[in-house]
Structures are given as C-alpha cells and as structure tokens.
C-alpha cells in the first residue's frame, strides 16, 4: 500500500492560515509528522480559499521539499497550478487529478508526459459521480485508454472510484469496493488504485472506525494506495494488519513494529 498523507490541504483551517501567513514551520511539521508516521507520498492542496493558488502551490512545494524528500501529489482542479508544482518537484510527482472528461484528460496527460509524472484518474465526469460500478468502470476504461494514447504506463495510473460519505450515500460503499476489484483487471500491467479515504466518514460520529473498516475492506479488494491521515495510528495499524493477512509481509509477533522498521 502506498500511503499518501492528506493533511497538507488548505481545506483545513490551520493549514489555510499557515499558507496565508507563510508560516513555513507549520507546513514543515505537518510534512515531517506524516512521513514519520508512514506516508510515502504527501498530498499538497492549496485549498478552496486560496486567493493565488499558483503562488501558494509554489510556496508549499518549496517549503515541504526543504524538510522531507518524499514524492508529492499535486492536488488541484487547475492544471496551471499543477504545472507550477511540477516545475519545482525534486521527486517524481503524482498529479491529483484528472476526471474522465476528454479535454481535462488531454491537458493532464500532456503534463504527465512532459514532466514524467504519475496520474490519479477520477472515475467521474462533467455529469458528476456515477452511482453504479458499471458506469465507474466505463469512465475508468476511458481514462486508461487515454493514458495509453499518451504513452503513459498503466502502472503509473491511480484509478479512483470516488468514495462518498456513508451517511449520505450508503449504497455507494459496495459499488466502490466492487469497482476497485474491476479496475485492477482493466489492463496488464494492472493500474494502481486509490481512494480519498476520509470522505467515507465525512459527517459521521465515529470517523476513525469508519475509515479503518472501509480501508481494510478496500485493501482486500484491490486497493493499492490511499489518501489518508497517517497520524491516525489505529488506521495505520489496521492497514498493516490487512496487508499481513493478505500475505504481503511475513508474520512475526511484532509485525506492526516490523512494518514500521522497513
């Protein structure tokens, strides 16, 4: 499992404030804490309130790279914001994200090719998030086909079936789980899969429990990466245990400790 840390996101008030006031240490602490807790990639999102997302993205990338050396997932709906980030990254980046819309895909895969980046592809289009696994699969297939057209390796794709909150779209959990399994069979080598995990528990009372239960189910069904809160230790423990049960690592009594020593 590739763990993508979600905490550097202007959607969180303290991060938005840190971006506004250019508080480098706040961002760097968040980066360090997430990497220490097991994040292999850090998501970077300037947030919805950013007045100048291009400058904010540049500032974030530079601040983060001064303190940690993991790859970054440049998270923006605006390709020009992503491109500024791509110009600055020192490790191979992940573009977060493209939808299955023709125009968007052309722009994003063009960038991915130019900057040798990986891409998260959302199984949604202009008409919104599909409510069946079949429609999700159709959109994912369109993303795979487009990526191939641009000469992008399929294992550099992260297909996201779009997780919805369990309290508003309860029928979708099962559809998402099924989609993950089918996405993996779309091509060979199989594409990676990812989810924005915390979305599943949005607005619920027991967020951490909902998150980790969903994560283990998703892992068992073909999830290969997730954007999540790596500082939730119980969540990380559940992930490590799920991978252990799937025989990804050799058991020993201190298997949690062993995973973290890797």
């Amino acid at each position: 499992m590739i763990v993508i840390g979600e905490l550097i996101n202007g959607m969180f008030k303290d991060v938005a404030r840190a971006i506004d006031n250019r508080e480098v240490d706040v961002i760097q602490h968040l980066a360090e804490d997430q990497v220490k807790a097991g994040a292999q990639v850090l998501d970077v999102n300037t947030g919805p309130y950013s007045k100048n997302p291009v400058d904010d993205m540049k500032w974030l990338v530079e601040a983060i790279q001064k303190t940690v050396s993991v790859p970054l997932a440049l998270d923006s709906t605006k390709p020009e914001v992503i491109e500024e980030g791509l110009k600055l990254v020192s490790k191979r980046a992940i573009i977060n994200s493209t939808s299955a819309d023709e125009e968007k895909m052309s722009r994003i895969f063009g960038l991915a090719k130019e900057y040798n980046a990986q891409v998260i592809g959302l199984a949604m289009d202009r008409s919104g998030v599909p409510n069946s696994k079949d429609k999700r699969l159709e959109l994912a297939a369109a993303i795979v086909a487009k990526a191939m057209e641009y000469g992008i390796n399929t294992e550099d794709l992260f297909l996201d079936p779009i997780v919805l909150p369990v309290n508003v779209a309860q029928t979708q959990g099962h559809e998402v789980i099924e989609s993950l399994r089918e996405f993996r069979m779309l091509c060979d080598p199989a594409p990676n899969t990812t989810i924005g995990l915390s979305n599943v528990s949005q607005g619920t009372k027991y967020r951490s429990l909902v998150n980790r239960t969903f994560l283990t189910m998703a892992i068992a069904n073909g999830l290969t990466s997730a954007i999540l809160d790596p500082l939730d230790k119980e969540l990380m423990d559940a992930m490590i245990t799920a991978e252990l049960i799937l025989n990804k690592n050799i058991y020993c009594d201190s298997f949690l400790d062993a995973y973290r020593k890797k």
Binding site: I250, C252, A258, K261, K262
Partner: protein
C-alpha cells in the same frame, strides 16, 4: 524463436556482514547478494559462501571418530586444534564452541574459556565465531567475559534466541561484535528475534540468522523452504529478514547414525552433500567439522561461483 527467461529484479540486497579483521589478520565478508542462490543472471553475488571449521574447547570424545581421527593428537588441545585447522587444513575462519563451560563437560570457568579463545586468536589470526555452551544461565554469565576478552576483534557471537537474547545482545553491542540470531526452523520467529535484537539498538546489519539446520535425510527440505521464503521477503524490501544465513552443518550431520556408524567415507560425503544443498538454499556461512568435507565444499563453491557477478 529463442525463449527469453523471466528475470526477477530485487529491490533490496541482503546485508553484507564482515567478521574479524579487528587488527589481527584479514576479515571475512559474507552476504551482499541481490539474487537467489546461483541465479547469477538476476543480480550480484559479491561474496561467495564461506566455510568455517568448528572446534571445541574440550577434548571431544563424544564427537564422531572419523572427525577426531582427521585431527589426530591436535584435538586434545584447543589451541593446537585451531592451529591445525588453519595451518594444515587452510581454514579462513574458525568456530569455537565453548562447550567446556557446561557442567556436564567439565564446567570450565568463563575466565579460562576467555583465555583459550584469546590464545586461539593470537595463534591463528583468523576471524572467530564464538558460541556459548547452550545453557542460557551459564552463557549469560560467561559470554560477557569471553566477549570482553575479544573486544574490538569483531567476532561473531552466538546464539541469541527469542527467549534469551538480551544479555548477549548487550554484550555484543558493548564489545563491537556481530551476533547470531537463532530460530527453530520458523520464519516468523526468525523475524521476531531480529526485531527484538534491533529494538535494543543493535544494528540489524550486524545480525546473521541461524534458521536451524538439519542433516540430509532429516527434513532438510523444510530448512530450504524457510530460507527461500526469508530471501524472497528480503528481496522485496523486508529489512528484518535481510540478514545472511549461518548453518551449523557439522553439528547436525555428525549426530546422525548414517554419518557416525558408517564405513570410512560415508560421514564425510554426508556432510558434503548437506553443505552443498544448503549452499543452494542460500547459506552464506557453513560451519563444518570434517576438514576433508570442508575442503570438498570449498572446491565446489569455487567452481559453482565462477559465473557470479561481483
């Protein structure tokens, strides 16, 4: 049309461990490979497996006659025995089993055992593997003294087990030695012992795994599969299984009836066959007893490792 073989690429090699070289003689280096045993097309194999000769600190009347005969009179005195191993039989590394510290074998005090090991080091100038007598209580009491006497000589001390590792680990850490981590043919426990030891601040790159050996004819295929499983995990990045393997071949072979009660050469051949099979399983360090068997295995290693990329 030619058939193209599928080659596996490993993402992390086995640790390289150096034994000896602490101011006296040359060090021996083992491990460092990035491919399964003998699959030279798939990776590097910088250090061929090494054969150590095993000696004891007492006159081993309980050892097989064939082995005792090979050393003749020298076997009566551990220092003379060690000298014969290196001088007459060309051993590049020795394993000294301090069995004499056990009450059933004379109950030699630790200070005396330490003196013997020091004398062996002074005379032979080869790297040493030093084992306790196998009784946890006595070893925990004695091995720190032996270890201290060898401080700075970068020996390999054994053996740390899941139920008894703290004293030996602390001792090896203090005196700059490497450590043998033992498990009972169990990959889960092998990993666990490595974690327990490294949790004490001991560098995992100075651990050598002893997965426990059996002799040819006594379930060796099980040892093989455990070693293979460990290696495959190490190559995809499990750092808690990326240690070289040491196998005590002589100890196992020479207690079998096939080796002990045999006509002239059967025991030697038994030891050779066991060792050679374990080289193919991924052994990095083989501890053997009969000098003729050791020589034959070294010859085999020399021939078979010719294709290795170093």
């Amino acid at each position: 049309m030619s058939i193209e073989l599928i080659k596996e690429k490993c993402s992390a090699p086995i640790n390289m461990v150096e034994i000896g070289g602490g101011g006296v003689g040359a060090a021996v280096r083992i491990g460092g490979q990035s491919c399964l045993p003998l699959l030279f097309e798939e990776g590097d194999c910088p250090n061929p497996p090494v054969v150590a000769l095993e000696i004891a600190d007492y006159q081993p009347d309980d050892w097989a006659e064939s082995v005792r005969q090979a050393y003749g009179e020298a076997i009566k005195d551990p220092v003379a025995w060690a000298k014969a191993c290196v001088g007459r039989f060309g051993a590049k590394i020795l394993c000294v089993r301090l069995q004499g510290m056990h009450p059933d074998y004379g109950g030699r005090p630790a200070d005396e055992a330490a003196e013997i090991v020091k004398a062996i080091l002074a005379v032979t100038k080869v790297p040493l593997i030093v084992l306790g007598c196998g009784d946890d209580e006595i070893d925990n009491d004695s091995m720190p003294k032996v270890s201290q006497a060898l401080k700075g000589h970068n020996c390999l001390l054994g053996t740390a087990t899941q139920s008894n590792y703290k004293t030996l680990t602390a001792t090896a850490l203090a005196d700059g030695h490497s450590l043998i981590a033992e498990s009972p043919i169990d990959i889960n426990i092998a990993k666990q012992v490595n974690i327990l030891i490294s949790d004490m601040g001991f560098d995992p790159k100075r651990i050598i795994m002893h997965p426990t050996t059996t002799s040819l004819g006594y379930g060796m295929e099980y040892v093989y599969s455990i070693m293979e499983r460990g290696r495959l995990a190490a190559f995809i990045g499990d750092r808690m299984l990326a240690m070289p393997f040491v196998l005590f071949v002589g100890q196992e072979v020479w207690k079998t009836k096939e080796a002990k009660e045999s006509v002239k050469t059967q025991g030697i051949n038994w030891e050779i066959a066991t060792a050679v099979s374990l080289v193919q399983a991924g052994a990095d360090l083989l501890v053997m007893r009969h000098p003729d068997a050791a020589k034959a295995v070294e010859r085999y290693i020399g021939i078979i490792m010719k294709g290795a990329k170093t």
